[in-house]
Symmetry: C2
Subunit: 328 residues, 2 copies
């Protein structure tokens, strides 16, 4: 608890209470700690976890320029028209968080920037092990704890990290464009696997029919029968088709709920998160033990005696695991 970010006002209990009350300043503060991988976030997250509140999470992914931000903006509008509050997490693995990104929180989503029912936050961290893939579910839990019933997670691109992040939501929207989003490319990019709903945005452009046809034919071969992602045509800039996109999200939510998949998926996500945290932690232990003069002395010293690296490795593992070498 001696990190720079751990200042007195980061009293875990006070921070947790503020987040539970939905105080934007506290929520933003905790998200900053999470984004930085600050150890000060740990006890707060732990105490918030006992808070049972859950949000429905919607991922929005697709190629840069496909109109994800505009679509997200419109979906926020739909949610607000229902009287619900909503949080938007804009995740960018490709760039470190900058003043520009922070400014972006205010200027983008212009229509809702002043709406107290809309919380907008961009995240771009390589700050700790697992980076955004590890920080995003923690950030989502912070937003859940703040009481918001809806969390939209928007990613900038279609890299593996973005797909992992967007795919780790309850419903994942994949945004394509006429021409760009032909089934083959979508398939290549792994979008078919993560998509629960396809949104063909900029549907007022040429080639939209071909793109939809491509998707339909690809889906016939690549998806199981239990849920076939609907394909919705939108023009996010005008709002055309956005309500149909929302209806598709609602239909998928209904499907997950009635089949019991919603709970099972959320459990599996938690299991995966734990798995990755454990693996990351053990790798960090291995890295720490396998460098520096002490390590070099062990290896080089033994190397003169020409001992099998496997033997040295097993001794180190046994030392790390605190068990007899022959059991490692």
């Amino acid at each position: 608890m001696t990190t720079p970010a751990a200042r007195p006002r980061d009293d875990p209990a006070a921070l947790a209470d503020g987040v539970r009350r939905g105080e934007a300043r506290r929520v933003a503060r905790l998200l900053s700690l999470v984004e930085a991988g600050d150890l000060a976030a740990r006890p707060v997250l732990a105490s918030l976890a006992t808070n049972g509140s859950r949000a429905y999470t919607i991922g929005v992914t697709g190629a840069p320029g496909s109109g994800k931000s505009s679509l997200t903006d419109r979906l926020v509008g739909v949610i607000r028209s229902r009287g619900d509050s909503v949080a938007v997490l804009a995740v960018d693995p490709s760039s470190p968080r900058t003043g520009g990104a922070i400014l972006g929180d205010r200027v983008r989503m212009g229509a809702h920037a002043t709406d107290p029912g809309v919380f907008i936050r961009s995240m771009a961290t390589r700050g700790h092990l697992g980076g955004l893939a590890a920080a995003t579910p923690q950030a989502i839990r912070v937003l859940e704890a703040s009481g918001t019933p809806w969390v939209l997670v928007e990613t900038v691109g279609v890299g593996q990290v973005e797909l992992d992040i967007a795919g780790a939501t309850d419903t994942t929207l994949v945004v394509l464009n006429p021409g760009w989003g032909d089934g083959v490319q979508a398939n290549k990019a792994g979008l078919l696997e993560v998509a629960d709903v396809f949104v063909v945005n900029k549907a007022d452009r040429d080639g939209v029919d071909a793109t939809v046809r491509d998707l339909v034919s690809m889906l016939e071969f690549t998806r199981d029968a239990s849920w076939t992602p609907p394909i919705v045509r939108t023009v996010a800039t005008t709002g055309e088709g956005v309500n149909r996109a929302w209806d598709a999200v609602a239909a998928h939510r209904e499907y997950l709920t009635t089949t019991g998949l919603l709970d099972e998926r959320r459990r599996e996500r938690v299991r995966n998160e734990v798995r990755e945290l454990v693996a990351a932690h053990l790798l960090r232990v291995a890295d720490a033990r396998c460098q520096g003069p002490r390590f070099d002395a062990v290896v080089d010293g033994r190397q003169h005696g020409a001992v099998d690296p496997q033997v040295i490795a097993e001794e180190l593992v046994a030392e790390i695991l605190g068990i007899p070498s022959d059991e490692s």
Copy 2:
């Protein structure tokens, strides 16, 4: 020691002695155990390691069809003409070991197939953690222990695994062709980083001058001053230039020896090997602990109480490391 491959004749001491005496049958047998990641290889490798004999290792890598096998064949001829024995390890990460590959051991290198001073072995394993990247240095140590002064490690392609394997030798030859091997592509493929010697094979074809020029200009920007990889033109099918290629290897060996880099590089390779073995072992421990009904019960049970995954992960890590949770 209860694996199928661990038959009585795999008495570790007998196998180790046979390898030390350079008995091809024993060497092949131990390489098979190493290739399969068979635990029966462990004690043999451990006892062989105390054998101090060292070979000089030469990696030969490059795109498929660039003539690596023909060049390797010629280099074997040069080494044999010096009266030394030599071992060739042909490594193929892309294909599982097949009867074809075994047959290949006999039919390829036709000129030397019947020469008892030449040991040829192909390896293609995904059999254990780390796969070939982990098995290759073990196989090289087996060949070293058999007393051969030269080990040629030939890889099939220019994937990352191949580059790691070929780069983990004392001298790495990168084989290019006129046209294919322009500096830009070589740079993209990461070949500039691993190359100690560039061999432009099929130098009787058009475009060889342009390829050499490309390499020269790329090297000016990408290499430190201490060693600039010589660029040798060869026609392996006729043997043209092969002696110059060998002279380049000898020059690089001289450079490594006089600067003391040879010993330092070998030490660093052992350190890296130990690091990777430790990391692989701990990841295996993490995987084992993070699956199955017991793990699911822990996570799901806690999830109903909505406990932070980080807390669960730290408890599991603490359990694995056998230390109090708050120290993990």
